[in-house]
Symmetry: C2
Subunit: 537 residues, 2 copies
């Protein structure tokens, strides 16, 4: 199935806003003006012609070029729906195998074109947008390379072509009794190669690990040849070259195959929602659980503001009121912090862990373990992005940003992130809320969502986004967070990546990229800018 060309996901699936949403939005953001959506035909007629010719490997058809030129960031949506595509890729290729991929690298050299590797096109930071390199651009969609190549049940390893999307990957594994367990929110459309290239993290990374722990080795086609990284359970033989491919964002080459660590399908999987009297109490509880021998499969702690917003959207006012009365009776106040949590494994493990988690929650004043709300989360776990379309149709713009930081910075950082948004466009009504979605012994991630109403033109809406993004990103860096926990760097985070990393780390990365791609032919302008290759090293 082909996804919507100018928004998120399946064309057959809509997620209308709950009927309670209207009043919440109007109350907090005022009424808004409908936002436009240009037709694909009209847009195709207006884009600049390709600088390349059709060939066996390349298509230059305008509609295809448009579809593969933007990701899922808010500026991407604005550009696609207003029809303000500054740049469109010159051609799209759909290689069927490594041989064709190799031919594309040679063709790019012959044509002096640059290549943009394209997984599922779900980037929210501009990974796959044509940049300002003057050379023609070929976007390489990996969607036809989606097969399970081999499986080693004893070592629990599976080798895939890297273009495989989440559901296809899981289906091929599930048929043999296995799972990878990597479920980012973009799961339904994103690809294995994309996860690796952008250091993705799944919702249950607490159990299964981030993609860093799952990616065991593979093959990357670079302009200088094939970079093969063999797979060992562990090794002390020098720096780990997998870690260079992870997060390489297409700058080194194109990941063609990847070996991943899989597990037998779990016997049982359960999700619950519990509530804490405060954000601080919830933070202390999840921190202590992350630092102990407690094995949940996920923790997602919503700040009281997010908790209230989510409950307002999920429940009819009457039901919400009853729940709030219950909160009061349980000593949670009327603005508790919701913790969604899960256990995954065999029955005994789930039982033991569930008991241990409930005990810890109780020790921090937390109450309840509502399976119904846990199930609600599970059934909607990949659904949130569809809400953006429903909001768009009502004239509201929504975006998110995220980070990870050490525990000793989290409370202040969360406040600063939200404060920075409030200060960024003081004239614009804005609502925002935050949750924590990944925990580690050392710290956790923070994920902030913000909404603002349409104020008319493309430029006005984009400028507002730029102001919000700039303020929030700077708050992240100033507060000791990384510019991204799970979305990568791409174009949008590049200036902050350059603030975050030390000078010698950047120069080393630049030198390494230049070694593999001396002509800066691979996804130039993403991740890191500086790359005057032959001179720098």
């Amino acid at each position: 199935m082909e996804p919507v060309w100018n928004g998120w996901g399946s064309p057959d699936f809509k997620k209308p806003l709950p009927k309670q949403a209207d009043s919440v939005l109007t109350e907090r953001l005022g009424t808004s003006l409908a936002l436009p959506e240009i037709e694909l035909e009209a847009l195709a007629a207006s884009v600049s012609p390709s600088r390349l010719n059709d060939s066996e490997l390349l298509t230059t058809e305008a509609k295809t070029r448009i579809k593969y030129s933007r990701g899922q960031s808010l500026p991407d949506w604005l550009a696609l729906k207003y029809g303000e595509l500054e740049r469109v890729t010159d051609a799209v290729a759909f290689p069927k195998d490594e041989l064709q991929l190799q031919s594309l690298l040679e063709l790019a050299y012959q044509l002096d074109a640059v290549l943009i590797p394209y997984g599922g096109g779900t980037s929210v930071v501009g990974h796959i947008n044509p940049g300002n390199d003057p050379r023609p651009t070929i976007t390489v969609s990996m969607e036809k390379m989606n097969q399970l190549l081999s499986i080693d049940p004893l070592s629990q390893l599976a080798r895939f072509q890297a273009g495989v999307r989440g559901p296809d990957l899981e289906k091929q594994l599930n048929e043999q009794g296995y799972t990878l367990g990597h479920f980012p929110q973009s799961f339904e459309w994103s690809t294995l190669g994309g996860w690796i290239a952008s250091r993705s993290s799944g919702q249950q990374s607490l159990k299964y690990g981030r993609i860093e722990q799952l990616f065991a080795g593979g093959t990357l086609l670079t302009p200088g040849g094939k970079l093969v990284v063999d797979s060992y359970p562990a090794s002390s033989a020098g720096p780990d070259w997998r870690e260079l491919i992870l997060g390489s964002e297409g700058r080194l080459g194109i990941i063609s195959e990847a070996e991943v660590r899989v597990q037998p399908l779990p016997e049982k999987e359960q999700f619950y929602a519990s509530f804490f009297p405060s954000w601080q109490a919830g933070l202390a509880a999840v921190r202590q659980m992350a630092q102990q021998d407690i094995h949940a499969s996920m923790f997602r702690l919503s700040h009281p503001t997010e908790t209230l917003t989510q409950l307002q959207l999920a429940l009819e006012p009457k039901k919400l009121k009853r729940l709030q009365q219950l909160f009061g009776l349980l000593g949670l106040g009327d603005q508790p912090a919701m913790l969604t949590w899960g256990v995954t494994g065999n029955k005994k493990h789930c039982r033991q862990q569930k008991r241990a988690i409930r005990k810890q929650i109780g020790q921090h004043g937390g109450r309840l373990a509502l399976k119904r709300l846990g199930d609600h989360w599970q059934h909607n776990r990949f659904g949130a992005p569809y809400l953006r379309q429903s909001l768009w149709e009502k004239g509201y713009l929504v975006d998110t940003f995220e980070t990870a930081a050490n525990w000793n910075r989290i409370e202040e950082l969360q406040q600063e992130m939200e404060r920075s948004l409030a200060k960024a466009c003081p004239q614009t009504p804005m609502m925002c809320y935050t949750h924590l979605s990944h925990v580690y012994a050392q710290g956790c991630s923070l994920y902030t969502t913000y909404l603002y109403p349409n104020k008319g033109s493309y430029e006005e809406n984009l400028e507002r986004w730029q102001a919000f993004k700039k303020a929030a990103s700077q708050a992240v860096i100033d507060g000791g967070g990384t510019i991204s926990h799970q979305h990568g760097v791409g174009e949008d985070h590049r200036p902050y990546f350059e603030q975050e990393k030390s000078k010698l780390q950047q120069s080393g990365l630049t030198a390494t990229l230049a070694h593999y791609d001396p002509d800066k032919r691979m996804n130039p302008g993403k991740l890191i800018n500086g790359c005057a290759p032959k001179e720098t090293s």
Copy 2:
């Protein structure tokens, strides 16, 4: 306390061979001739003079130079004890702080000298030996930089100067209620910086993680400046530069400070020994436990040959016989495989895990859980290297090698490793045995010990070692193992590292090293050879 200059560890500690050992050794290897030990004074009189002058930062005293010129490999012992030091470092420095370290880098540039970073000198693969670079050599001992700098209890992070030895590190942490939990066999003498530079793995890595998981960030002084890597709980902002420092073996620069992930001291820690009727049954049991939600703190599975040898050395013949009778009664045969295992954590965790582990062991035909043998292992966990001296005194040479591989290769690889030794010097009596000491879902490590008798001259003994080492290393590579799971590459594994890693991985590493160290001034000749710096990238 200063360690023995020409062997392992403390001068005040001896570990005599058990009285049963004589007959075991004579029976399997024949009698042997005593091995020599030259006096330090005599050796100091014979080494070539230093090419550098004494200064505030450098000492060129011959005895000091000798002490810091060799590690703990068998060829190192042969060279030190026979007095056959081909090369001795020209000077040794003992920087007190980062400023002095920086001065040493500048001094090396002025003198056109090369630098060898020196942690605890416990390398068994030639990491700290002066190589064949024609320039004078300065060995930089980090032993004075051994302080805990800061601790963040909330994020469970501690920052240390990198020259801190294991016991000093644990003492400084224990005083505040924390532990790093990194206990390689070399723990008592090796250093934090050395662990990082060589990708070390501790005996309880199953609980605490390898040094890769413990090292959170730090500072490395390179010839081009200070490379700072900040510490985040996780990040998707580009390739992880920590992973370049890990395993860099001094080739990038000198690690001056490191932040590590610590944990509160565990409530409880227990070790047991169980027995399986066969190696295969033991392998299946530990593999399945590593692939399930079972949380031991260590597994060490001895092959039946190692089990028998260890029991023969640990027990008087009468006691051994009684134990073997018990094995028979329990259906274990007379050559079972011993599994030493541990649990670490709070009481409840230990109780639950102990129960789960015993159940799994039983399901694979395993029997017993002898705390006495577990305690024996615990009390001797750092003692094995002292046995080398006792063997030396009786005229027997001992060495080990190790690897890690996927589960589907383990059985054959273990056989091939031992077979390769048997074939290497068919005229030399040799005994060998193997254990598995680290398990992962994907595979495990294998660790083989071999002994052979002294046959006279330095050259004859060294040649035999070379033949054994070559045969074993090639068997590892041919059998799909990594050339090292926990000892690193150094000089001795370099040819096999070059076989193990793909061409483009090697060229990329070479280019990256050249970026930070264009003059090849940092520990040249270790890890990877090729480094014609400015031209290659």
